[in-house]
Symmetry: C2
Subunit: 285 residues, 2 copies
């Protein structure tokens, strides 16, 4: 196990296995070829070609979203998609552009549409200020994805119509009882991006990363049942665990590596330094 | 002018215009096709094929370096290379690997070997601690590259046999009179990488980035004549100037953008945020 292994496994995407999903000439998703083939019978919504799938449903965002939701229900019946039913994501060619449609979160990897999330590194300084401790959460055994794994202080997907800062404030309250007066000191510190094939399709993920130095009288408390326990761990120990194990949720390894690089916990003389420093930000084509 | 323009111009590399330079089966450089052709007459040192140039000079590092230096002298006579004569860089397939040879800095773009540098963002906090000012240097009119442009507090290439931290300490002393007791508080914060075609060839550059919060009684003073003047500028003003002008040295724009992303001076609602956050770390193939 090495830092590199986490980066490689989050970037196991192989373009040869995928065709683009387009709308109005712009790419909005990445369909694995078996998933593309499963869309042939919905010819009023998708035109499936050999090298491209085109969204052909017409109407406004609500109408297109409804048409696609009917397809998603059929895919659920086929066992190809596990619908979440409580969370939809905006689908657009680029961050900040108006959405083409909204999609149930459970169907996002099937279509390979880009998904955005927020991750918060909570930390405290010790002693001389150069030694850091990181807040680490343990995911609930009931989570659909990566139960029981270790996690950041706060993390969540950006639902349709919401922004990054806004999602952070909401998730910080629900997941760790961080009050608005504290979370507004969180510093946006970049984005981690990766592209990964899973059993369901393609995860084309962008994580907006924030850092928050927590005061000595703060202790996180989970409210939504998604995290069962929080612990403050020496950052050096967290990093050792990332290097040697898969104890952390797959993409949290990348967020922690990004934190480690930005805060000098990893140094240029580490043999993996450049691979980590340049491997966490997959270009967004 | 936009942030994006700086990233694009530092990554104008076109693989179709280049062939790999290899040694022992590993790529060690990127030769523009006209530069590759100019090596045909040195058949005891290079085997020039249509899709690859292979280093064939044999011997230890010193012997290969001497053989290549003779080629470089001939290229200087042809006007293809401007030799520096006071600085050589290690050439290796990867950072941290033993060098294959050492090369005069002036010949690095001709061969397109990867070059490593250190850049230091010097900053001070103001008022509530959330407002930052950045130290900005003005390059001497006598500099060979980008005279009179604005620069980081400290920057320099990593010469053969030296490490990143070591180079930072040396350059900090020469360029800004930063004493060893202060520079050891500099935090390594990642790497900026880009690949750029210039008049001379290919710049395949990796910049190790450091941040240093300077104390209120510190003022930088240049010793080596490379910087004529230092100024403390509000970070927000520096960022505006990066967005609107080419006042900063070409690659310093990227280092400042990286600083801006890491310190929350740029935020996720900026339309260029993701392009900047993912565009500063070209993967090292």
């Amino acid at each position: 196990m090495s830092f590199r292994d986490h980066i490689v496994s989050c970037n196991n995407y192989d373009p040869a296995r995928v065709v683009p999903l387009t709308a109005g000439g712009a790419r909005i998703g990445l369909l694995r070829r078996d998933n593309a083939a499963a869309l042939r019978r919905f010819s009023d919504v998708f035109a499936v070609g050999s090298d491209e799938v085109e969204l052909v449903a017409s109407g406004d965002v609500a109408a297109v979203s409804r048409a696609i939701d009917i397809v998603v229900d059929a895919l659920v019946a086929d066992g190809r998609v596990a619908k979440w039913r409580n969370e939809t994501f905006d689908v657009a060619p680029r961050w900040g552009m108006p959405p083409v449609f909204c999609l149930d979160r459970g169907a996002v990897p099937f279509f390979g549409t880009r998904a955005y999330g927020v991750h918060l590194n909570g930390y405290m300084r010790e002693g001389d200020g150069d030694t850091l401790r990181l807040w680490v959460g343990r995911r609930s055994p009931d989570k659909q994805i990566e139960p029981n794994k270790l996690d950041n202080l706060v993390a969540g997907g950006i639902g349709n119509g919401h922004g990054a800062d806004e999602t952070l404030v909401k998730e910080a309250e629900e997941e760790a009882s961080i009050p608005p007066g504290l979370i507004r000191h969180a510093v946006p510190a970049g984005a981690v991006s990766y592209r990964m094939e899973t059993r369901l399709g393609i995860r084309d993920d962008v994580l907006f990363v924030y850092d928050l130095e927590t005061p000595s009288d703060f202790a996180p408390e989970n409210r939504d049942g998604e995290i069962v326990h929080f612990e403050l761990m020496p950052a050096s120990e967290v990093l050792k665990r990332v290097r040697a194990t898969s104890d952390f949720k797959f993409n949290v390894n990348l967020v922690i590596l990004d934190f480690a690089v930005r805060h000098g916990l990893l140094r240029p003389d580490d043999p993996e330094y450049l691979e980590v420093a340049t491997g966490l930000h997959r270009p967004l084509d």
